[in-house]
C-alpha cells in the first residue's frame, strides 16, 4: 500500500472510537476505502454528543446556519449589472446630458469619446433621468428603478433593507464562521453613484461602519444604544503592489468649496455636467476646466472613466499646493541598546544581521533613503561613514545631560552611497561590544540625540532595547509589584510612569519623527511607559517576552518581523481627516497618532499594519436618503511622491430601529468596544474597561428585547438578538477573558500593556483572530485541507473554542495571530506522531517553543502548509506568530496558558459562555 493510501486510510486518527477511550497499545489504523472517509458527519456528531453543555447538536447548527447571511429583500448591490464597462453604463444613464454635452462640445476639435449619442439615445427611453438629480427631478425615476415599490416623500423609505431575523442565543452554538463573513450589505442602489460602478462604495476591508444604515436623528441612535463608529484601514498590504489602488495621475483635484470633500463616485453632476453638487453638504461646485481633457495625450477623455468617479478608494497625485516642503527621503535611525544584557542575549547580533540582510528591502527606488546607527549604553556611540569609505568611525559622546552630535555630517548615511561602510559596520557591530560590562542604558539621551540628528528631515527612530533605561532623562524604575496584580491598583502599572515619553512624543510629532519600540525582556521592561512614544508618533511597539537568540525560534521570529517592518512601504508626513455629510461630526479618534486639531490626525510616518477607529455623532437631523463619509489621507510615499488617498463610504439612512439593528456589523462593534476599552484601561482602570464592554452589551440586548424581539410566549424568556449580532455576546465575553482585560493575578503588567497595544491597533480580521482565536482540528481534517488549490492552501473549518471538543488522542492548532499553539493530546497514537512530527512517542516531543519539522509525509506537509498559510493570511501584517507545542500531559503552566484561550469554557474566575448568557439574561430582565 502506498504511503498516500495509508494516510487516507487514517482520515481521522482514532476517530472511530468516538469517545476518549485510550486506544489499545498496538493500535493499527484501519484502512477503509478512501471514498467512505469523505463523510465525516458521524464523527462530528459523536463529538457534539460528547460535549458537557449538551447544546451542540447538529440539527441546531444547521438551523443557525440557515439564517446566517442577512437577506436582501430587493435590489441588493449584487443584483446590479457588472461594472467592467462603466462608460457604457454611464452613457446609458445620462442620455440627455451626454447629448447636450456633445452638442456643446461639437465646436471643439475632437470629441472622440462621446461619439455615440445616437446609440445612447436609442438605448434609453427619453424619460430616463439623470441619476443624481433625483431630488430635483422627482421621485418618478426611483419608482421606476424599484419596479413598482411604493415610495414615500422621504427618499429613505425607498431603500431596500436588510431583514431582521431574531435568534435565541440559548438555542444555538455560536456560529463562529460569522467572524470572517462580510458585514450586512450596504443597501445603497448603485444608481446613486455617478457611474453606477460596483466599486463606487468602499469595500469593508478598507472602511467598516458599525451600522450600515445611518439613523436620521440622534435620538434614534441614542435610543438604539448601538455605537456609531467607523473602522478605517487605509492600507491593506505592506507593499503597494500586493493590493494596488487606482491612481489619478493628472493632478486635477476637485474639492467642494465649502466642506472640502473630494469629488467622489457619489457626487451629483448637474447643469450639463459643468457643475456638480457635493454629496456631503449639497453646495454646487464648478467642475474643473480640464476635467475632460487628457493632458498627457492631448485628447478629450471620457469623464465617466475617471478613477475617482468609479472607485471609492483612489490615490490622487497631489499638485504643488499640497506640499509644504520638497518630499523628504526615507530615514531610519537605529537606536541599539548595547548594554551587557543586550549583548549577552544575542539581540545586538541578531538585529545587526537582520538589518544587514534587509538593506535591499528598504524601499529605496530613488536612492535617497538614509540610515544612521546609534549605540546606547552609559554613553552614546555614533558611527560615521564618509561616502565611498569602507570603514566606519565610532564616535563616543559621554555627555548625557546635553547630548550633542559629534559631527555635522556623515552620521546620516545614504544607503546607496555608503553601502560598503554600512555593511562592514553591521558585520562587526556585535564584536565591537562583545566584551562590554556596561549595564547602563541611556535611552532618553539617545532618543534626544537621534531626534536632533533628523529633526530637520523627519523619519523613523527604531529603538531596539533589552534593558530598562536607567541613566539620564527618561530613566525608569522597576515598579512591577506582583502583589498589585489582579487588584484594583494594578491599573497604576499600566499608566505611564514618566512624563518625558509623552512630552518627547509631542516634540517628535511636530518634527515628523516617529518612534518604534522593539522591546526584549529578560525581566521587567515597563512596556506601559515606553509604548507611549510609539502611541503618539504613529509607531508600533513589539515586545519579545523572555527573548534569547540562542533559541532559534526566537531569533527567527524577531529577524523576520524586523525584515517585514523594514520592507514595509511606509508613508511619510501624513495627515488624515475624516469628513462626514452635513449633520455628522467625528467626535473621537482611536489609534496610534497625534491629534493635531479636533479632527486632524497627524502621522509622522504612516504604518501599513494598523487600523483606526473614529466615533461619529449625529448633530442635526439628516434629511437625505444617504450620507457619505470620506477619509482623506495626505502623505508622501517613500518614493518621494505627494499623494492623497481618499476613501469614500456612503451609507443609506433610515428612521426605523429595525433597519438599524438589521444592518449592524457585530465585528465592527466589537472592534469599537475593544479600542474604547483599551483606552479606558490606559487612562483609568481595568475594571472600568471591562464594565464598559459588558454594560454596552447589556444595553443593546435590553433595547432589542424591548423594541424588536418577537412576542414570546411561555415561561422561558429567551435571550434574543438579531442574526447579524449573534456573535456579539461571545466576542464581549472573549474580550473580558483576553490577556488585555482578564481579571487575573498571573499576568505581568508588561504582557498586559503589549496586549493592549495590539488590541488598539490590529486591523479587523487580525483583531478578531486575536480576540477569538481560531481552533483547527488537524488529526481529522478533511482531505482537501492543507492542499493547494487555485485559491491557495485550503484551511480546515474552524471549531468553537471549547475544550469539550478536544479529543485526548487528537492534534489541534490554536492561532491567535500573535501565537500559535499545536496541542497534542496525551493519548495520541504513535502513527499520528510519526506522520505529523516524525517521532515515535510523546516523550520525544519537547513542549514549549517549537519549530514544525519538515518530513516527507503528507500529513506533515499539509500541517506545514496550513501553518504557512496562517502566517501569510493577511498581507498587511508584520507579525510572525510564534509557535508553541503543548502536550496534553505536559507542563501545567503552558497548558493553562493554552486553555486560557478557550473562551467558551469556565475558567479561574470567569464564567463559561452559557453561564455568561445566564447572567446577561438576569441583567436584561431587571
Amino acid at each position: 500500500m502506498s504511503q498516500e493510501d495509508a494516510f487516507y486510510g487514517k482520515g481521522s486518527y482514532g476517530a472511530s472510537s468516538g469517545n476518549s477511550n485510550i486506544p489499545p497499545q498496538g493500535f493499527q489504523p484501519v484502512y477503509p476505502v478512501a471514498g467512505q472517509l469523505d463523510n465525516t458527519a458521524p464523527y462530528v456528531g459523536a463529538v457534539a454528543e460528547g460535549t458537557a453543555e449538551g447544546i451542540v447538536s447538529n440539527g441546531e447548527y444547521a438551523v443557525g446556519a440557515m439564517g446566517a447571511a442577512p437577506t436582501n429583500i430587493i435590489g441588493s448591490v449584487d443584483q446590479q449589472p457588472p461594472v467592467s464597462h462603466t462608460s457604457h453604463k454611464s452613457r446609458r444613464q445620462y442620455p440627455a446630458e451626454v447629448f447636450e454635452l456633445t452638442n456643446t462640445l461639437a465646436a471643439s476639435p475632437a470629441p472622440p469619446s462621446l461619439s455615440e449619442p445616437s446609440y445612447v439615445m436609442a438605448r434609453t427611453p427619453s424619460s430616463s433621468p439623470y441619476p443624481h438629480d433625483r431630488a430635483e427631478v422627482g421621485t418618478k425615476s426611483l419608482s421606476a428603478q424599484f419596479g413598482g415599490m411604493s415610495l414615500g416623500a422621504d427618499g429613505a423609505a425607498a431603500m431596500p433593507t436588510n431583514e431582521l431575523v431574531s435568534v435565541d442565543l440559548y438555542n444555538q452554538t455560536p456560529e463562529i464562521s460569522d467572524l470572517t463573513s462580510p458585514p450586512p450589505p450596504i443597501n445603497l442602489p448603485l444608481s446613486y453613484s455617478a457611474t453606477g460602478a460596483a466599486t463606487s462604495n468602499c469595500p469593508p476591508k478598507y472602511v467598516r461602519s458599525t451600522i450600515n444604515c445611518v439613523p436620521t436623528t440622534n435620538s434614534l441612535l441614542k435610543k438604539s444604544k448601538i455605537p456609531f463608529a467607523l473602522v478605517i484601514r487605509p492600507y491593506t498590504s505592506l507593499v503597494e503592489e500586493d493590493d494596488p489602488v487606482p491612481v489619478v495621475t493628472d493632478t486635477i483635484i476637485s474639492r467642494c468649496r465649502r466642506c472640502r470633500m473630494y469629488i467622489n463616485p457619489f457626487s451629483i453632476f448637474i447643469d450639463n455636467g459643468h457643475r456638480y453638487r457635493c454629496n456631503s453638504c449639497g453646495i454646487v461646485n464648478e467642475v474643473p476646466q480640464s476635467y475632460d481633457w487628457d493632458s498627457f495625450r492631448n485628447v478629450q477623455r471620457d469623464r465617466w472613466q475617471r478613477p475617482e468617479l468609479n472607485y471609492a478608494v483612489v490615490d490622487f497625485i497631489a499638485p504643488q499646493e499640497y506640499m509644504v516642503r520638497a518630499p523628504q527621503p526615507l530615514v531610519y535611525v537605529f537606536l541599539i541598546d548595547i548594554s551587557f544584557v543586550s549583548i549577552s542575549s544575542g539581540m545586538v547580533g541578531t538585529a545587526s544581521r537582520a538589518i544587514l540582510e534587509s538593506l535591499d528591502r528598504i524601499p529605496n527606488k530613488e536612492g535617497r533613503a538614509k540610515v544612521a546607527f546609534i549605540g546606547v549604553d552609559s554613553a552614546l556611540h555614533f558611527f560615521s561613514v564618509s561616502p565611498g569609505a569602507e570603514e566606519a568611525t565610532q564616535l563616543v559622546v559621554s555627555d548625557l545631560e546635553e547630548p550633542f552630535l559629534p559631527r555635522n555630517q556623515d552620521l546620516l548615511l545614504n544607503l546607496r552611497e555608503c553601502r560598503q561602510g554600512i555593511e562592514n559596520l553591521l558585520e562587526r557591530f556585535q564584536s565591537m561590544f562583545a566584551t562590554t560590562r556596561d549595564s547602563s542604558n541611556a535611552l532618553g539621551p539617545g532618543l534626544k540625540a537621534a531626534h536632533r540628528l533628523i529633526e530637520n528631515i523627519g523619519g523613523k527612530i527604531c529603538c531596539l532595547i533589552s534593558s530598562l533605561p536607567n541613566v539620564g532623562v527618561g530613566k525608569l524604575e522597576l515598579r512591577e509589584d506582583p502583589k498589585l496584580l489582579g487588584t484594583n491598583r494594578e491599573s497604576s502599572l499600566l499608566h505611564p510612569n514618566d512624563s518625558f515619553y509623552k512630552s518627547f512624543a509631542v516634540e517628535c510629532s511636530t518634527s515628523q519623527v516617529s518612534v518604534d519600540m522593539f522591546l526584549f525582556s529578560s525581566q521587567y521592561q515597563d512596556v506601559a511607559t515606553l509604548s507611549c512614544l510609539p502611541r503618539y508618533t504613529s509607531g508600533k511597539t513589539q515586545f519579545y517576552h523572555r527573548w534569547n537568540a540562542s533559541r532559534s525560534e526566537d531569533a527567527l521570529k524577531f529577524a523576520s518581523e524586523l525584515t517585514n517592518y523594514l520592507s514595509m512601504e511606509i508613508e511619510l508626513e501624513a495627515v488624515m481627516r475624516v469628513r462626514g455629510s452635513n449633520g455628522l461630526r467625528m467626535s473621537s479618534f482611536y489609534g496610534n497618532f497625534f491629534n493635531r486639531s479636533s479632527d486632524l490626525c497627524a502621522f509622522p510616518s504612516f504604518p501599513r499594519d494598523q487600523s483606526y477607529v473614529v466615533e461619529v455623532v449625529i448633530e442635526d437631523t439628516i434629511t437625505k436618503p444617504f450620507v457619505s463619509f470620506q477619509t482623506a489621507m495626505l502623505h508622501t510615499t517613500c518614493n518621494g511622491e505627494r499623494r492623497i488617498r481618499v476613501l469614500t463610504i456612503s451609507l443609506p439612512t433610515t428612521n426605523s430601529m429595525t433597519d438599524l439593528y438589521a444592518s449592524a456589523d457585530q465585528v465592527a462593534i466589537a472592534q469599537y468596544l475593544t479600542v474604547r476599552a483599551s483606552e479606558k484601561a490606559l487612562s483609568s482602570t481595568l475594571n472600568e474597561a471591562r464594565d464598559s464592554i459588558i454594560s454596552k452589551l447589556v444595553e443593546i440586548l435590553e433595547v432589542y428585547k424591548k423594541n424588536l424581539a418577537g412576542q414570546n410566549t411561555g415561561a422561558a424568556i429567551p435571550l434574543q438578538i438579531s442574526t447579524n449580532l449573534r456573535l456579539l455576546p461571545l466576542l464581549c465575553l472573549a474580550l473580558t477573558k483576553h490577556t488585555g482585560f482578564r481579571r487575573s493575578s498571573h499576568i505581568s503588567s508588561d504582557l498586559r500593556s503589549i496586549a493592549l497595544c495590539y488590541l488598539s491597533t490590529l486591523p479587523t480580521p487580525l483583531l478578531m483572530r486575536y480576540i477569538y482565536p481560531t481552533l483547527y482540528s488537524l488529526h481529522d481534517m478533511p482531505i482537501e485541507a492543507g492542499t493547494v488549490t487555485e485559491q491557495g492552501v485550503v484551511l480546515p473549518s474552524a471549531l468553537n473554542l471549547t475544550s469539550a471538543l478536544l479529543q485526548s488522542f487528537g492534534l489541534y492548532l490554536v492561532d491567535t495571530h500573535i501565537h500559535q499553539f499545536l496541542y497534542i493530546g496525551k493519548d495520541a497514537v504513535p502513527q499520528l506522531l510519526i506522520d505529523a512530527f516524525g517521532v515515535n512517542s510523546l516523550a520525544d516531543l519537547k513542549a514549549g517553543r517549537f519549530t514544525m519539522p519538515v518530513i516527507d509525509n503528507p500529513l506533515n506537509v499539509r500541517i506545514n502548509a496550513i501553518l504557512g498559510k496562517l502566517r501569510s493570511l493577511d498581507k498587511g501584517s508584520t507579525i510572525m506568530p510564534s509557535l508553541y507545542l503543548v502536550r496534553g500531559d505536559g507542563d501545567p503552566q503552558l497548558r493553562s496558558w493554552f486553555f486560557s484561550h478557550f473562551v467558551e469554557d469556565r475558567s479561574e474566575n470567569s464564567p463559561s459562555y452559557l453561564q455568561f448568557l445566564q447572567t446577561l439574561k438576569e441583567k436584561v430582565r431587571d
Binding site: 473621537s588 491629534n595 486639531s597
Partner: protein, 137 residues
C-alpha cells in the same frame, strides 16, 4: 492707617480678580482649540505656564483669609484649595497635549465652575472691602 482686615480684603480682591481674568482667558483658549484656531501644543505651552501662578495666588488668598480670620470666606475657598492640592499630588494640573481632546469636556467644565466661583468671590470681596473701609472711617 488701613487696618489689617482691609488690607486682606484688598489683596485678596486683586489676586482673585487676576485669577478670574486668567480663567476667562483659558475659556477663550479652549474654545479656540475647539474651533481649530490654535493647535494643542501651543495651547498647552501657553496655559501650562499659567497653571502654577493661579494655584499659588489662590493659595495665597486662602492663607490671607485665614490670617485675617475671615472664617466664612476662608471656608468658601477651602474646596478649591483641596481640589488644587489634589491635582498637584496626582500631577494632573499640567495639561497634556496628547490627551487634550479627550479631556476637553472636563477641562471646560472645571473652567466654567472656576470662573463662576471667582466671579462670586470677586463681588463678595468687593462688598466686604467696602464695608470694612467704611467701618474704619
Amino acid at each position: 492707617m488701613m487696618s489689617f482686615g482691609s488690607f486682606v480684603y484688598i489683596a485678596c480682591l486683586l489676586l482673585n480678580g487676576a485669577n478670574m481674568l486668567l480663567q476667562i482667558f483659558c475659556v477663550i483658549m479652549f474654545s479656540d482649540l475647539e474651533m481649530d484656531y490654535i493647535n494643542p501644543i501651543d495651547l498647552c505651552n501657553k496655559l501650562n505656564d499659567l497653571v502654577m501662578p493661579e494655584i499659588i495666588s489662590h493659595t495665597l488668598v486662602t492663607l490671607l483669609l485665614l490670617l485675617g480670620k475671615k472664617w466664612l470666606l476662608f471656608l468658601a475657598n477651602l474646596p478649591l484649595l483641596v481640589f488644587h492640592a489634589n491635582q498637584v499630588i496626582h500631577k494632573t494640573h499640567i495639561l497634556d497635549a496628547t490627551e487634550i481632546f479627550r479631556q476637553l469636556g472636563r477641562h471646560k467644565r472645571d473652567n466654567f465652575i472656576k470662573v463662576t466661583f471667582y466671579l462670586i468671590m470677586f463681588f463678595t470681596l468687593l462688598y466686604c472691602m467696602v464695608m470694612s473701609l467704611i467701618q474704619e472711617e
